[in-house]
């Protein structure tokens, strides 16, 4: 089996008395989009800074593409691309010059830089505006350019820190689509920091969840669904009285019942069926208009983990 592209062992970083990253042990395989999920201030950005060798760990160690982050940070930065918390574009420079700068930094020959600029800007529908200063652009366009910059020198590994943060849903979806297409075409591994669960569900093969610097869980979405959250049924109708709710809660296959106006949200244990629940409601005088059964979303898993962690 090949060496993982990222490996951390008990990685920790403190700022004064604050533990930004706490005993993080993580393995990320090559060729996937890895989602690193967590609320604001969870330690996601600090983790990227540690992996790029921009910060030294207080304890533990990490390797990226086999290079130690403490002693071989230059080798790591030479082989990775990064779109950090802010786009990092030089706004007084043109779009073309912004890309050309990073091509020069990564010592790409002139002909290759020119071809790559055309390729990426054409792909992102920005080619006609390449001579414009970036300061005049919309936030979405700037972020697309920043994604292109991160991919410009064909890195094997790309760090993306909340690439769609603060975007409206339409702009976020558009950027996610561009991102997915580019990453698939380039064949790069992506370490994606996000608190946008839809984004993670859409893009990521594996996710890790972090809170207060500690890794709560890691794995594929399917594995997390099995391990962390139950399937649920949503029933719409009328007459969902307290006795009906109590009867449902008494059933062994029901994990929880919640009423929201004319809807019942029922969490099931294992692979329990919905039909007996519907029968019980009707027998007890309730009226059922619609029944929807759903798998747990990443949001359900995430919220379950947050609740568990808070209780712990």
């Amino acid at each position: 089996m090949s060496e993982p592209i990222i490996r951390t062992e008990h990685l920790s970083r403190t700022f004064g008395r604050i533990k930004a990253v706490d005993d993080l042990s993580l393995v990320v395989s090559e060729g996937i989009v890895f989602g690193f999920l967590g609320p604001n201030g969870a330690g996601k950005t600090t983790t990227i800074h540690l992996l790029l060798g921009l910060l030294e760990p207080t304890l533990g160690r990490a390797t990226v593409m086999g290079f130690d982050t403490r002693t071989q940070a230059n080798d790591i930065r030479a082989r990775t691309g990064a779109l950090l918390e802010f786009s990092g574009l030089y706004e007084r420079m043109t779009a073309e010059d912004n890309l050309d700068l990073y091509g020069r930094i990564y010592r790409m020959p002139l002909s290759e830089r020119k071809a790559r600029i055309k390729e990426l800007l054409t792909h992102l529908d920005l080619w006609d505006r390449r001579k414009e200063q970036v300061v005049k652009w919309s936030r979405g366009m700037k972020q697309k350019l920043a994604v292109a910059r991160a991919l410009f020198h064909h890195p094997k590994l790309i760090f993306l820190d909340e690439p769609t943060a603060g975007f409206d849903p339409v702009a976020a979806a558009a950027l996610q689509t561009d991102l997915a297409a580019l990453v698939a075409r380039e064949g790069a591994t992506v370490f994606l920091n996000t608190h946008n669960l839809t984004e993670a569900e859409k893009l990521c093969a594996q996710v890790g969840v972090i809170r207060n610097g500690r890794l709560l869980t890691v794995g594929s979405l399917d594995k997390l669904r099995i391990g962390k959250a139950n399937p649920h049924v949503e029933i719409t109708g009328r007459g969902f009285s307290e006795p009906i709710l109590a009867s449902l809660r008494g059933l062994p296959e029901v994990a929880s019942v919640e009423r929201q106006n004319d809807r019942l949200l029922i969490e099931l244990r294992g692979e329990a069926e919905a039909a007996p629940l519907v029968s019980l409601i009707i027998r007890s005088g309730g009226e059922v208009e619609e029944v929807r059964r759903g798998e747990s979303s990443l949001e359900d898993i995430f919220l379950t983990l947050m609740k568990e962690n808070k209780n712990a």
């Binding site: 700022f15 800074h49 790029l52 060798g53 921009l54 910060l55 030294e56 230059n74 930065r77 030479a78 990064a82 779109l83 950090l84 918390e85 802010f86 786009s87 990092g88 574009l89 030089y90 706004e91 007084r92 420079m93 043109t94 010059d97 700068l101 990073y102 020069r104 930094i105 990564y106 010592r107 200063q133 760090f159």
Partner: protein
């Protein structure tokens, strides 16, 4: 060297010629003042390397750099471009020299252009033929070297302050106050030295000693700046 060249190119595109145009009208004001207005006031004395000519060619570039150099790192920090640059493969040394070289080169270059322009302006204003050049020529060259040393002093000190400042405004305030402090200290030191030390020295010799002191200060400030450049401090700060 190639990386330093890249950073110099970046500074040129971002600061001096953003979007392919001269981004700062103050450059034209600089040349107009040092190349036309001041020489026309001083006339022949300017070409004879008067005290005014020396002071203006040294202090004007010095303060011009102080006004702008505070932006070098603090400004990049404020505009959120520094973090991405630090996350790239570019070396610390290239980033630092990529700030020092274009700043000193640009301002010193403008001073040389102004100096040549002022020679034309004074000759035209005097209406004399044949035209005269700076006399002595060696004096003019020494003034240009002194100007470069002083530019380097302002740039290295300015970058050091900018590295440790949270905002451009903070850096500029520290630099302006610091420069005033520097002149007060120099004045007090000069007053405190025994007068007989200077009795046997000509003005040129005193000027050369001042240049030597500036050179030593440049070396010290550059060394401190290089030593205090830490990616982790810039990221965590």
């Amino acid at each position: 060297m190639r990386d330093i060249g890249t950073m110099v190119w970046k500074e040129g595109r971002d600061t001096i010629f953003p979007g392919g145009r001269l981004g700062n009208l103050s450059s034209l004001v600089f040349i107009a003042l040092l190349g036309i207005v001041f020489p026309l006031i001083d006339r022949v004395g300017w070409l004879a390397i008067s005290v005014q000519m020396v002071l203006l060619n040294v202090l004007f570039p010095f303060y011009y750099i102080l006004v702008y150099i505070g932006d070098s790192f603090a400004g990049e920090h404020e505009r959120h471009t520094l973090e991405t640059l630090l996350a790239s493969r570019i070396s610390d040394r290239a980033i630092l020299w990529g700030k020092v070289i274009p700043t000193v080169g640009y301002i010193w270059g403008m001073t040389v252009i102004s100096s040549l322009l002022s020679m034309v302006v004074v000759n035209l204003a005097q209406g004399q033929w044949p035209w005269t050049f700076y006399t002595p020529l060696s004096g003019w060259l020494i003034v240009l070297v002194a100007c470069m040393l002083v530019c380097l002093l302002a740039a290295s000190g300015g970058i050091l302050v900018s590295l440790h400042s949270a905002t451009t405004r903070q850096a500029q305030q520290i630099l302006l106050l610091g420069s005033l402090g520097l002149f007060i200290v120099l004045y007090l030191v000069f007053r405190a030295l025994p007068s007989q030390w200077f009795q046997g020295l000509s003005g040129s010799q005193i000027f050369l000693i001042a240049m030597l002191v500036t050179f030593v200060l440049d070396a010290i400030l550059l060394a401190i700046t290089m030593a205090s450049f830490r990616r982790s401090h810039l990221i965590a700060g």
